[in-house]
């Protein structure tokens, strides 16, 4: 029940709705008592021959009014209680989403999207259940259950009531136990299903390989085995699921037999009438739901507890990088001084960077080369202020970057990442990501600079072509160029290309670099690349090796230095020689 306390902030916020909803629910559980009672009275009146037309009419009218009142009350509590529950899920989802947007990259580095999605869907769903079904089962099992039992005990026969109730706790226990088993087995069934899903996904993505090796039959066999597993796991679920109805039937049958057996004795002893007996057995029927609800309640609340603590845990994670008090509200521009003594990623033991010092004047272009893991990306991530906790300083435009407002710092930087992520919307919207209302002409201009304009015009819908799963799938090179256009459109003070030309061919690469050179005269550019051709014209090149600068200088200076850069170059030259196979 802890979760109900933890959700009290929400219940308080919606106290009017909950109060009215619960009141309606209680009203229903009271009005529900009328039909059996009236049936009992009429039965008695008939057996005793004392029924009169006006009397009968009176009872029927009362019943009619009760029925109509119940209709409205039932409608009303649904809107109030279930409605509030839907509102809770909306509120929590919003909180979670807004929280997600504030989390630093390190947060996403540690977690998988799938897991976060599970919180946003399953856990929120469990909370909605708690605030809706949870409240309903709690109130209904107490009020309906309570009122029915009280009515049976007070107006009919308390001894008989106690006797009839004996089997019912077993039902609560059993259904609650089934519920738990069911959930466990259901999870296995889900797993089996998701295996099947993965298998299908794999077969379809790898269809060419399967066709090439002529292994369709074997693959179908494999699929058949997995689908048999799905059937098996689902049957295990069914074995429990099918227990509910028979259990309820069985336990209530025991209850009925007990009531009639002892009821008959009381009737013989003239402690109660036949009408009482009829009413009693109808009341017993009314107890099915509250008993079931009581069993459900435990499971709902148990799930709600787990989900609520998972969500609050997630929400309590503070963003690692925040604006300092009195942060500078100005877009940084100017020279860049990068002086890092030491830095390591929070998840790593080893230093990612040490003794990295360089300066870049406004308007200059710098190239960073080095192997994967040499620290290229770490430098960029620090520049973007995705990570902090380094020894040293990064000064941009006269101030350390952590003294700017994050928003302002990012306004200066146009970042094109390695893993060019595009949103599943139109190409135009992807390019105009920073400003959806920007003029079409600007979008074309950025696209032309990124050498993607002609490609886009070649698509059937042009700039309105939707990319991603629902639309056209772009080649890696096209995706890279769209993300370059997306960064260029904001006319950034500092453009960062993080190995963003790897999938474009040499000619296009050259054209893009040339366009950048002409168009970006006063602004600063940093390019990292595997291919030396992408950075050879830079004003300054640094060669990263094992987290530090091994060499720095211009292309010519570096070659003259006879070091790593030269080595890389020689390796490439060697490749050329090997490729030419000694024919030259």
């Amino acid at each position: 029940m802890k979760v109900l306390l933890q959700l009290s902030w929400f219940f308080k916020q919606r106290k009017k709705q909950y109060a009215l909803g619960i009141a309606a629910l209680v009203l229903v559980s009271i009005l529900q008592l009328l039909p059996p009672k009236i049936i009992g009275i009429i039965v008695d009146d008939i057996t005793l021959g004392r029924l009169t037309a006006p009397g009968l009419t009176k009872w029927l009218i009362i019943l009619g009014i009760a029925g109509i009142l119940m209709y409205f009350a039932r409608f009303y509590w649904r809107v109030m209680i279930f409605g509030s529950a839907v509102l809770l899920s909306r509120t929590m989802r919003e909180k979670l989403f807004n929280h997600f947007t504030r989390m630093s990259p390190s947060f996403y580095q540690k977690r998988r999207v799938g897991d976060l999605m599970a919180h946003a869907t399953n856990d929120i769903n469990a909370l909605q259940q708690t605030a809706g079904m949870g409240i309903l089962t709690l109130v209904d099992s107490i009020s309906t259950g309570g009122f029915v039992i009280l009515t049976m005990a007070i107006t009919i026969n308390w001894k008989l009531t106690l006797i009839a109730l004996i089997p019912l706790p077993f039902m609560i226990f059993l259904t609650s136990y089934y519920g738990r088993l069911l959930r466990k087995r259901f999870r296995f069934a889900q797993e089996a299903f998701s295996n099947l899903n993965d298998k299908t996904q794999e077969s379809i993505t790898g269809i060419k390989v399967i066709k090439t090796f002529g292994q369709q039959k074997e693959d179908i066999e494999d699929f058949t085995n997995l689908s048999t597993d799905v059937v098996g796991k689902n049957m295990r679920v069914a074995r429990i699921d099918a227990l509910f109805d028979p259990t309820i039937t069985g336990i209530f049958a025991v209850s009925y037999i007990l009531s009639f057996y002892f009821g008959t004795k009381y009737i013989i002893a003239e402690d109660m009438s036949i009408g009482d007996m009829v009413a009693f057995s109808t009341y017993l029927g009314l107890l099915v739901w509250p008993m079931l609800a009581f069993g459900f309640l435990f499971n709902i609340v148990e799930r709600g507890n787990a989900s609520y603590s998972r969500i609050t845990e997630l929400l309590s994670i503070a963003p690692e990088i925040t604006d300092l008090p009195g942060a500078i509200d100005k877009r940084p521009e100017g020279d860049l001084h990068f002086d890092i003594e030491e830095f390591k990623f929070p998840s790593d033991e080893a230093l990612a960077l040490h003794n990295v010092h360089f300066s870049l004047k406004q308007g200059e272009t710098m190239g960073i080369v080095g192997r994967t893991g040499s620290g290229k990306t770490a430098i960029l991530k620090l520049l973007l202020r995705e990570f902090e906790g380094y020894k040293g300083s990064i000064v941009y435009g006269g101030n350390p970057i952590n003294q700017y407002k994050q928003q302002r710092l990012r306004e200066s930087i146009g970042y094109v990442p390695q893993d060019h992520f595009l949103f599943s919307t139109t190409i135009a919207e992807n390019i105009a990501f920073t400003n959806p209302k920007i003029a079409k002409e600007k979008i074309y201009e950025a696209s032309r600079l990124a050498q993607i304009h002609d490609d886009i015009l070649g698509f059937s819908e042009g700039y309105e072509t939707i990319v991603g799963e629902r639309g056209v799938s772009l080649s890696g090179g096209q995706q890279q160029r769209v993300s370059i256009a997306r960064a260029l459109i904001m006319e950034p003070e500092l453009l960062i290309l993080d190995d963003s030309l790897s999938a474009v061919d040499a000619k296009t690469e050259e054209a893009i670099l040339e366009a950048l050179k002409q168009y970006r005269t006063g602004e600063t550019t940093i390019i990292t690349s595997h291919r030396l051709s992408a950075i050879q014209h830079a004003h300054k090149i640094i060669v990263m090796h094992e987290g530090t600068i091994a060499e720095a200088g211009t292309h010519e200076e570096l070659l003259a230095m006879d070091g790593k850069y030269k080595e890389m170059y020689e390796l490439q030259q060697l490749e050329v020689m090997v490729e030419q196979g000694g024919e030259v």
């Binding site: 039909p35 009236i38 049936i39 009429i42 057996t47 037309a53 009872w59 029925g67 119940m70 209709y71 039932r74 839907v86 909306r90 919003e94 989403f97 997600f100 996403y108 999207v113 976060l116 299903f193 899903n197 299908t200 794999e202 077969s203 379809i204 993505t205 060419k208 390989v209 090439t212 090796f213 002529g214 292994q215 074997e218 179908i220 699929f223 689908s227 069914a238 699921d241 099918a242 069985g250 037999i257 009737i267 036949i274 973007l384 928003q407 970042y415 992520f421 949103f423 990501f433 920073t434 991603g468 799963e469 629902r470 040499a506 030396l532 050879q536 390796l571 050329v576 196979g581 024919e583």
Partner: protein
């Protein structure tokens, strides 16, 4: 998580789909009969119970006369029936589940097999995600229908019949009047169905939009933050969230108006009617109160199944939509090219000849125009050219991924179309540009489904292509797990595994699509060396991106816009000073610039 459009179905379409769905029950006739018998027994038990109580009330309780034998008999009968019902209803529920699950399994296997029979054309125009959805998610929602809707529906029908039989046996006149409930039920169900379908559909779509938005935002959070679009995204999300909330509220209200509150109201109405009927009759003539009891109890049993049917209409609707999509896939006739086997042709030396082959994917623009060339046994023919020049199409035809009509391709003088499929698959090995790795381990990725291959053969193949160098360094070596499409391996390593996989089948003809991705130098050396070894003694058709890798090819074809514009050896082509020469210069100058 993509949001898919739901096809609009007319009533007639829906009926067709349902009929076809139900045809899947045919192989289970016997089992279904048993399940139905069990169902009828359960329902009969449920109806007989109140009737026994009625007898008890009228015959023994009202007159307060309890002959021991008769009463014992009736009590034992009641207990017996209840016990029987508990057992029978369990087996009945299980039986229906079993049938439903088996039907769905069959359907899944059918769809999956169908997918395997489809030609590459289908995969080109259909996103993988939506095919997967057909095989798994859509069949899952059909399962829900078989499991819950059909059983509930049958239950409701039998319950209605059973209750009415009982009512007629008790009081014909009142039972006749009670028949009026049927059109009322029907009206509620029809009205409910008309609106709930749309409302529920709307809610479902909004939810999938909502989840798609969260999923995409999470994957693209880096970009959203780098471009400081958090607030815009939050606003967009709020809007979707709000719409989803409204749809949810509308559903609650609608269900509140027509679902259980309405059914309960109707039930109260029915009780009033029954009481009134017996009450007013009793004013003139005696009435058996047991019958009154039985009537009120039995009529109550009519309402529950109706409500359950209504609650499950949306599942039904969803299943029909899903089924229509599944059937559409099953009816697709973009099949694999068919072989016209003339004789049991076998590939011997592996001489390949393309003779005047023209080809178009869409029937409009030709991507291959009159292609003719010969690759003699054991020779290498290299294909070079820009993206879209037709290199891959040549391979696609040679691999029988697509059917061609104009011109012909021969292996050892026999048309490609006349070989049995297995012969072609066995004797030709294709290495794809982006090698695909399956879930499993290294060994299973080399042997694939071939159970006859010994571990030694697997190792031999790996050794041959020099893949063992890196495999031996992995923890677990050949049993090292491969997960997430082999993303833990470099593309060079994946390529080597793909080589091993191909060489393990010892093909006569080798088709290579060279990888363009960055490959580290060490692996690159291994790849080049093993390529050379693999090509020995095999006819090879290779797409080359780096001209340097194919300089020793016996024939190089330079393609441009679907035509062979130059052909010859490396030296011949260089001296021609044509397109090949230009391409060569360009590739070299890129590297020279670095120098």
């Amino acid at each position: 998580m993509s949001v898919e459009k739901q096809p609009k179905l007319t009533g007639k379409d829906q009926w067709q789909v349902l009929k076809r769905l139900l045809s899947y029950t045919a192989p289970h006739k016997a089992s279904i009969t048993i399940a139905l018998v069990l169902l009828i027994m359960t329902i009969t038990g449920g109806i007989v119970g109140p009737l026994i109580i009625q007898r008890f009330i009228d015959n023994y309780l009202t007159p307060l006369n309890f002959p021991e034998r008769e009463v014992t008999a009736i009590v034992l009968l009641y207990i017996g029936i209840q016990l029987f019902m508990v057992v029978v209803s369990y087996f009945q529920l299980m039986r229906f589940q079993d049938i439903a699950l088996k039907i769905i399994q069959q359907m899944r296997i059918d769809v999956f097999s169908k997918v395997h029979g489809l030609g590459m054309r289908y995969f080109d125009k259909t996103p993988a995600g939506s095919i997967v959805s057909r095989v798994t998610n859509d069949t899952e929602s059909i399962k829900d229908m078989f499991v819950s809707v059909i059983v509930t529906f049958l239950q409701a029908v039998f319950m209605l019949i059973g209750v009415y039989i009982a009512l007629f046996s008790l009081d014909v006149k009142l039972a006749l009047i009670s028949l009026l409930l049927l059109p009322l039920f029907l009206a509620i169900v029809v009205i409910y169905r008309r609106y709930s379908t749309d409302f529920y559909q709307d809610l479902r779509e909004r939810l999938s939009q909502l989840n798609a938005k969260i999923a995409e935002s999470l994957s693209g959070m880096g970009m959203i933050q780098a471009f400081r679009q958090e607030q815009r995204l939050e606003a967009e999300f709020d809007e979707i969230n709000e719409k989803h909330f409204r749809a949810g509220m509308r559903n609650i209200k609608f269900d509140g108006i027509l679902l259980s509150p309405a059914i309960d109201l109707l039930y109260t109405g029915a009780i009033i009617f029954v009481l009134g009927y017996f009450g007013f009759i009793s004013l003139d003539s005696p009435v058996e109160v047991g019958i009154l009891y039985a009537f009120t109890t039995l009529i109550g049993r009519l309402f529950q199944p109706v409500q359950q049917v209504m609650q499950r209409l949306s599942i039904f609707q969803q299943a029909i939509v899903s089924a229509s999509r599944v059937f559409k896939l099953m009816d697709d006739n973009d099949m694999e090219p068919e072989q016209q086997i003339v004789k049991n042709a076998e590939i011997g030396d592996g001489k390949i000849e393309f003779r005047n082959v023209s080809f178009s994917y869409d029937g409009k623009a030709d991507v291959l125009k009159n292609i003719s060339f010969t690759a003699n046994a054991g020779e290498t023919v290299a294909l070079v050219g820009h993206t879209g020049s037709g290199k891959s199409s040549i391979i696609n035809l040679l691999m029988r991924f697509y059917e061609y009509e104009r011109g012909d391709i021969f292996i050892d003088g026999v048309s490609l179309k006349e070989y049995p499929q297995e012969e072609l698959r066995q004797k030709t090995g294709l290495v794809l540009q982006d090698p695909f790795m399956f879930y499993g381990d290294i060994e299973s990725n080399i042997r694939l489904h071939n159970k006859e291959m010994t571990p030694e053969e697997v190792r031999g193949a790996a050794e041959f292509v020099r893949a063992n160098d890196f495999i031996e360094k992995l923890p677990g070596k050949f049993s090292h797990r491969v997960t997430e499409r082999g993303s833990t391996f470099s593309s060079g390593q994946r390529q080597l595994v793909a080589f091993a996989r191909t060489i393990a089948t010892n093909p006569k003809i080798l088709v290579l699509d060279e990888a363009t991705a960055n490959i580290d130098t060490e692996t690159e050396v291994a790849i080049q060396a093993s390529l050379e070894k693999m090509r020995k003694g095999r006819t090879t058709i290779a797409i080359a991106h780096r001209l340097s890798t194919i300089q020793d090819a016996e024939l190089i074809l330079v393609l441009h816009k679907g035509e062979i514009v130059e052909r010859g050896t490396h030296q011949e082509l260089l001296s021609q000073k044509g397109l090949y020469h230009m391409m060569y210069e360009l590739q070299n100058s890129t590297i020279e610039d670095v120098i």
